[in-house]
Each structure stands twice: as C-alpha cells, then as structure tokens.
C-alpha cells in the first residue's frame, strides 16, 4: 500500500516577521499582557485546585466496577460469565455456585477483577444481561503497594452496589 502523503506548506514570512525582532516584541507584549491581566484579576486561570475542588465527571465516565443488588441486598449477578468472556483484558475471574432458591439458581461464589489488567473499557457492563456489573461508580482505582491488593473481590464490588430499576428473575411474564 502506498502511504498517503499530505504536504503541509509553510506560509512564507513577510518582511517584519522575518526580522524576528518585531515578532519577539509582540511575544513579549503577549506574555506581559497575560501577566498583568491574570495578576490583577485571575480571569483566564484554568487551573482547578484538584483535591479541594473536583471537576464534575460525566455520568458516562468509567470508574471502578460495582455489582448491583437485588431488593434483598444479594447480588444480581448470576455468574453467567458474559462479562469475563467479553473482557478484552481477560481480567475477570468468576467462580459460580448453586443458589438455594431454584428461581435464582446460580450466583457467583467469588468474583474477582484484576485492576492492573483492566483497561476500563466498560465492555463488561455492555455484556451483562442482568444489569449486574456497572462501571459507573465514579470512583478512581487507587494506587496499591502490592499486586495482590489490586484484585478487587465480591465484597468490595458489592459495597459500591445499589439497586437497579430493571426487572430480573424468571418469575415475570
């Protein structure tokens, strides 16, 4: 394949520009203007003083995962492994177990996500047929001292969980 080359021309400098001095002075005037304007009125300052004030995140921002809950507080997840199958980083490890209620039948015995591998693509949320896993917690992954600590487990995922408004369970229509 022949690479497409686009030549971007450089506009020629006119006389005053090529003298350099005028442009240098213009530059100095610009920085000078910014200095005095910001010094006196801080009008253009874009800095947000992070830990004290935070930029509001978009609701679509993908942060730490959470597992949603049923009405009784148990996990909605049925360990179908759609998320772990779909995960491009292959970082979800689920072990399923039998649920005593045959209407629920299958629940995760353990549910681990290796945050060091996770790329926060949100495909797990897309794949989940039960609205069980979500990446909308708005929480950042925290730095850790050891690799093991970067693996979050079922309890941690559920601690950020809340109830979903969507219906679940085989006893509806």
């Amino acid at each position: 394949m022949v690479a497409k080359v686009k030549n971007v021309g450089q506009p020629p400098l006119n006389l005053t520009e090529s003298l350099y001095v005028t442009e240098l002075v213009r530059g100095l005037l610009t920085t000078n203007r910014h200095f005095w304007r910001n010094w006196l009125r801080r009008k253009d300052t874009a800095t947000l003083e992070y830990p004290d004030r935070k930029r509001p995140y978009s609701p679509r921002w993908r942060g730490l995962h959470r597992l949603m809950l049923r009405e009784d507080g148990s996990p909605r997840c049925v360990a179908c492994m759609m998320c772990s199958t779909h995960c491009p980083a292959n970082c979800i490890t689920i072990v399923a177990r039998e649920h005593p209620d045959p209407a629920i039948e299958k629940v995760p015995a353990s549910f681990e996500i290796d945050l060091l591998k996770c790329i926060f693509c949100g495909y797990c949320e897309e794949a989940c047929p039960c609205d069980a896993i979500r990446v909308d917690s708005g929480v950042h992954a925290q730095p850790v001292y050891g690799r093991d600590e970067a693996i979050i487990d079922l309890a941690d995922l559920l601690s950020r969980g809340s109830q979903s408004t969507s219906k679940q369970g085989g006893r509806s229509l």
């Binding site: 360990a79 179908c80 492994m81 399923a96 047929p129 006893r171 229509l173």
Partner: protein, 508 residues
C-alpha cells in the same frame, strides 16, 4: 430407486429414506429438535417441516419417506413461516434464562432461534412455570421449564438402555419430563441424555456451573475406563479437563459413552506424581531432576544386573502401545528378559450396551505386542505366588496404578523402579518413582477389545517434571550402556505400529 427433487436439485436415494436424509445427501440442512440418528423417529417437534408439492400441508422431513418424483422445498416462504411459528410456539413458555443455563453456547434452541426466527415474544399472559434444578439422578439435573418436549431422553432410556426410567407426564402446557415416584434416574448411561437434550433441560451435575461451554476446547481421545475403547471428546480449558463427551464412532461406541467413563478424568486429579521420588524422598519438580532420578534408577538396576540378579518388567495394560513398546524393548535389550508381567486393574461389570468386563484400555494390544516381540506374558499375582519370584532382585513397573501383591517369603527383591502417574498406591512400594503423564496428557495408540487400533490425542500438557516413558527409558538405557533404537515419540510410534497394526482405525 426413487429420484426426487429438493430445492430444484435432483437426488437418487434408497426407497424408505426420509426427506431429511435425502436432503443431507445434497448438503441441505434442515433444522431439527427431536430427530436423532441414534433414536427412533418421533416427529413431535415439527421443526423440520418442509413443503412437499401436492401435499395439503407441510410435512415433517424427519419422518416422511421419499417417493419417486417427489418435489420438496426447504426454503419456501411457507417453510420459513412454519419454522418461525414452531419456534415461537416452543418459546411460549420457555424461561429463556440462558445466562444461568449450562447449555447456552451449545443450545440447539439458541442456534435455531438466531438462524430461523429472532423475533420478539408476543406472549401477553404469565408463562407456565415448572420446577427448576431438580436432581433426578446422581449425575443428572432436570429443569422442567426448559424442556421442549422432544422426548429424545425418553426414547433413549426406552430404546437404547432399555431402563425406561424417564417419562413424559401431564398434557399441553403442563407436559413435563419426570422420573417415576420414589425412583432415581440412575441409568449407567444417564449422561447421554444430557448430550441428547437439545436444550438445557437435562444438565450434568458434575459439570454444572463449572465452565461455560464456549470456553472449552475439545480434543479427540479414547476413554481409558474399559477395553471397549469408546471414542470421546475431552473438553479442556485453563489446563484442566472439565468434561468428557462421547465422540461418534459407529464401529465402537456409536454416539454413546457410559457415565463412569465420562467421569473417569477425576481419577487423574489429585494424588498425582508430579516429581520424582528416590528412596521415598521427593526431588525437585524439574525435568532435569527427573532425568537425574532416572539415571539413579539405571545405576541401581545396573548394579543388580552386574551381580547376576534378575530384573523383571511389570506392565500395566493401561499404557499406550508406544509406552508398552518402549518398556518391552527395554526389557529385552537392556534387562535381557523374555518375561513380562501384566498388572491389570480389577475386572468391572459388563452390560449389554458398551461396558466390558476388562477394565484395562490396552490389554489386547499389549498382549499381542509382547507376543510378537517374543515375550512370555504372565499375570503379576500368579507369578509372585510362584517360587520363581524369590529369585527376582529388581522390578521395573511401567504405568503402575495398583500396589504390587505381597512377595513370597525369602524374596531377594531390593529395588522397585516405578514409572507412574499416581502417587498413592505405588509410592511407598517404590525405591525410585519416576513421574509419567496420565491418560489425557499423552498421545498414544490403544487397541480395543474388538482389535481396533485407535489414537488418543494429548488434551493437556503434563506437569514440568513429568517425562514420557520412552524418554525416561532411553535415558536409563544409555546410562546402562545400551540403546533402544528410538529417540522420539514418532520413532517409537512407527516401530510399535509396524508390529501391532498399521495405524489408527486398523485392526490389530
């Protein structure tokens, strides 16, 4: 012979052939649920409806036999409409709980729905719900709502195993599969109904919830549980066997396999020899340490031999032809023996379908191989009871799974070198234990009781310290100043097969 036209292509078939088979001959696929090659036709699901010119309504292709000059349409608007309607009907009360259904991924209902319907449900009333997760037998779990009433399972128990343990009860919406009151579904072939069930109504209790089907990789192998030599698929993932399913072979097991054989892979989990033991002390779990232990064993056997002592070969009839050939060759070239002692697994019980009495996968092949190589074959127990056993100073056991019987009083036995995949019954009887691959970890040939040579492929990689029998014995031979005449598995294989048979599928 009748000639008919299917989708404007002509085909000539035997009289009495069904439309389904005639279409298959042309490579035309007709969707089915209840039809199965191994079972009598029931024609109750109506998924296979096709249009026959002149017939008043669509006909089930699985049942209707061909007539000369028949004209069949499998893709006409009527047929497509009929398939949609059948699927909608089947799905009326289906729970569609695919996320928790073990069948998902290999479900015929899912496949047909995607291929032929993919329409939304129009049902406005509450679905009929039935019992879920009913453990109807030791190996099988029944989900009554997922059943599509194809009766494959019922027909299997009635016609193939003849136990008739399953039945269909109630009517209409409420039809369900059940066992008789107070009875268990303990048919020795019960897991075949799990394979037969096109949906997730019957699932394996052993495999239940362990792995999703799409994560499994299937490797063709031969079942080690009896001398029938049933062909199986070994389903592996993450370096582990999760499930064993029958592989169709009309000459051996047709579509079936017994529950015991399917669950036999559990025998190879745990209590594994994963490193060499010398004088009961474990060596490093590395290949090099195993080879060093083999050299130690060779040195000890050499000492016995140089003092004129006798070392005899004990062979398990479970090992492959390749392993057996390597061991026999070692015995004749290095040990100068013409006697091989077979240490078989105890007999099982035969049944009318597949199971044989002999629980050893390769006795036929190894006995023949030993005979061709000029060996006298004797039974280990019988030999140990004889006075000749007293003179034996060393034992070389290959593939041992069972403890050696007690030695006669005054025996001079000083060394027992064992090549085995298991630890439990043999470790404390062996002065040197060398780890070898278990059944599903090796590539080898086995001869069934009917004399058929069959290949079993390697499904899993063995542990790091585990070495193949031929490489261990070659190493020992070179340490004892001899050579066996082969270096790698293909050369052992061609030597063994040129003696015992011409290759896979041939008769020994």
């Amino acid at each position: 012979m009748p000639v008919l036209t299917i989708d404007s292509r002509q085909v000539e078939v035997e009289a009495g052939t069904t439309i389904l088979k005639a279409a298959a001959k042309l490579g035309i696929d007709i969707p089915v649920f209840c039809y199965h090659d191994g079972l009598p036709v029931a024609a109750n699901c109506r998924m296979c409806l096709v249009e026959v010119k002149g017939a008043p309504k669509p006909c089930p292709a699985c049942e209707v036999q061909v007539r000369d000059g028949m004209e069949v349409l499998t893709q006409s608007p009527l047929v497509l409409e009929a398939r949609k309607a059948v699927l909608e009907f089947i799905l009326l009360n289906h729970p569609v709980d695919c996320p928790i259904c073990d069948q998902a991924g290999e479900c015929v209902l899912q496949d047909h729905y995607f291929a032929h319907s993919a329409g939304p449900s129009r049902i406005q009333v509450r679905k009929v719900h039935k019992a879920k997760a009913v453990p109807i037998g030791p190996n099988v779990m029944l989900d009554k709502e997922r059943c599509i009433n194809c009766t494959r399972c019922v027909r299997f128990c009635r016609e193939i195993t003849k136990t008739s343990q399953l039945a269909q009860v109630q009517r209409g919406n409420h039809t369900e599969i059940t066992v008789f009151p107070g009875r268990q579904f303990d048919d020795p072939y019960s897991l075949c109904t799990v394979d037969l069930c096109p949906v997730g109504a019957l699932t394996s209790r052993d495999f239940r919830f362990r792995k999703r089907s799409w994560l499994l990789k299937s490797i063709p192998a031969v079942c080690p549980e009896c001398s029938r030599g049933c062909n199986v698929w070994v389903d592996v993932a993450d370096g582990q066997v999760w499930r064993v399913r029958p592989r169709e072979n009309q000459a051996v097991n047709r579509w079936w396999a017994c529950d015991q054989g399917r669950l036999a892979f559990r025998r190879f989990e745990g209590q594994r020899a994963d490193r060499a033991l010398v004088d009961y002390a474990p060596r490093d779990a590395t290949r090099a340490a195993t080879m060093a232990a083999a050299a130690t064993a060779a040195g000890r056997l050499q000492t016995i031999r140089s003092h004129g002592g006798r070392v005899v070969l004990v062979l398990s009839p479970m090992v492959s032809l390749e392993e057996g050939y390597a061991a026999l060759r070692f015995a004749s070239v290095i040990l100068g023996e013409k006697l091989v002692l077979l240490a078989p697994r105890p007999d099982g019980t035969a049944d009318s379908l597949l199971r044989t009495v002999d629980a050893n996968a390769n006795r036929t092949g190894l006995a023949k191989l030993a005979g061709l190589m000029g060996f006298e074959v004797a039974d280990l127990g019988g030999f140990f009871a004889s006075p000749a056993a007293v003179e034996v100073a060393g034992l070389l056991s290959v593939g041992a799974e069972y403890p050696v019987p007690p030695l006669p009083p005054g025996a001079k036995m000083s060394q027992a070198v064992t090549l085995s995949h298991c630890l439990d019954p043999v470790a404390d009887k062996s002065t040197v234990l060398l780890p070898i691959p278990a059944h599903f970890e090796k590539d080898g040939h086995y001869v069934s009781t009917a004399g058929l040579v069959q290949r079993s492929h390697q499904a899993l990689p063995p542990a790091e310290a585990v070495a193949q029998v031929h490489s261990l014995l070659s190493e020992m031979a070179s340490k004892m100043g001899g050579t066996l005449g082969f270096t790698d598995l293909p050369s052992v294989r061609s030597a063994a097969l040129s003696l015992a048979g011409t290759g896979e599928g041939s008769h020994a």
